[in-house]
């Protein structure tokens, strides 16, 4: 089973890493300011495996959230990949104010500001 987190910002990667972090040993955290790909406007990232042995991926393209889901489904139709072999998860707007601010900054293309807002935060389950 593969899980694809999609979004129009690098928050797809944060969601995927949060998912993986649930499988990490207690106390293990990923510092956001150590993640170089958060400055990328588009990327396809393999985040790792979760506790249930699912492969977790993140895909993001600036201002292209909707097309990602369609492209994933089109590709799986083309290669006849059964629907039970993958899930596409659209990243939702986070509750925490700093995360909401960072997401908005990414959406506006203000990557420097987004990184500054995320500085000091860790990926939490």
């Amino acid at each position: 089973m593969r899980v694809f987190y999609v979004h129009n910002t690098p928050f797809a990667a944060l969601a995927a890493l949060s998912h993986i972090n649930q499988a990490a040993p207690a106390g293990a955290t990923i510092r956001l300011d150590q993640l170089p790909f958060l400055d990328r406007r588009e990327h396809f990232l393999r985040a790792g495996r979760d506790a249930d042995d699912r492969e977790i991926y993140a895909v993001w393209i600036m201002s292209g959230g909707a097309i990602l889901t369609r492209l994933i489904h089109s590709f799986s139709d083309l290669y006849q990949i059964p629907g039970d072999q993958y899930t596409v998860c659209q990243v939702v707007i986070p509750q925490a104010f700093r995360l909401r601010l960072a997401m908005r900054a990414y959406q506006l293309g203000l990557f420097g500001l987004a990184r500054r807002v995320l500085r000091g935060l860790a990926v939490l389950p």
Binding site: F44, E55, I61, F75, I81
Partner: protein
């Protein structure tokens, strides 16, 4: 091998390229506006259809040809499809060809009028005019794609 021609709407330049590739249009003769308008998918897809792969037939070597509308996200098909091929360990190769380089302003304007504003009368007049002018570039792109495909076939039979 699967060949995917993609452009903004998946309805003009990518359809032209797919039609030349599959032999629906002759590379030696510029098609008439009627020829163009009778092509499947030509000036027919709109905003609801982007991101969807549409089969367009096979070429003489058995390669399957598809068209795709991807709005302005020219890099999206490459990033997503390469990533997915690796995620699912797929061995069957595919080739993505961006046909937007063959566009001219008449195709952009006519396409916008016809598909975006639903002004088909004037839009189709302009987009078919632009398509006929762009036709040699489309044929050249398809020929170079076919050369790439046969070179790949020789290397990986």
């Amino acid at each position: 091998m699967k060949v995917i021609y993609h452009c903004f709407g998946g309805t003009h330049s990518s359809v032209l390229a797919a039609a030349v590739h599959t032999g629906r249009l002759s590379p030696d003769r510029v098609p008439s506006p009627d020829d163009l308008l009778s092509l499947p998918l030509y000036d027919k897809q709109d905003g609801q259809d982007y991101g969807r792969l549409e089969p367009y037939g096979q070429d003489e070597s058995g390669n399957e040809v598809f068209v795709l509308g991807r709005r302005s996200y020219a890099q999206a098909p490459e990033i997503v499809f390469r990533g997915l091929a690796s995620a699912f360990n797929l061995e069957e190769p595919f080739k993505l060809v961006d046909t937007a380089i063959t566009l001219n302003w008449k195709m952009k304007l006519g396409g916008y009028l016809s598909r975006g504003l639903k002004l088909q009368g004037i839009g189709r007049l302009i987009v078919t005019w632009g398509s006929r002018r762009a036709y040699p570039r489309v044929v050249a792109l398809v020929e170079s794609t076919k050369k790439d495909l046969s070179a790949k076939k020789e290397r990986f039979p």
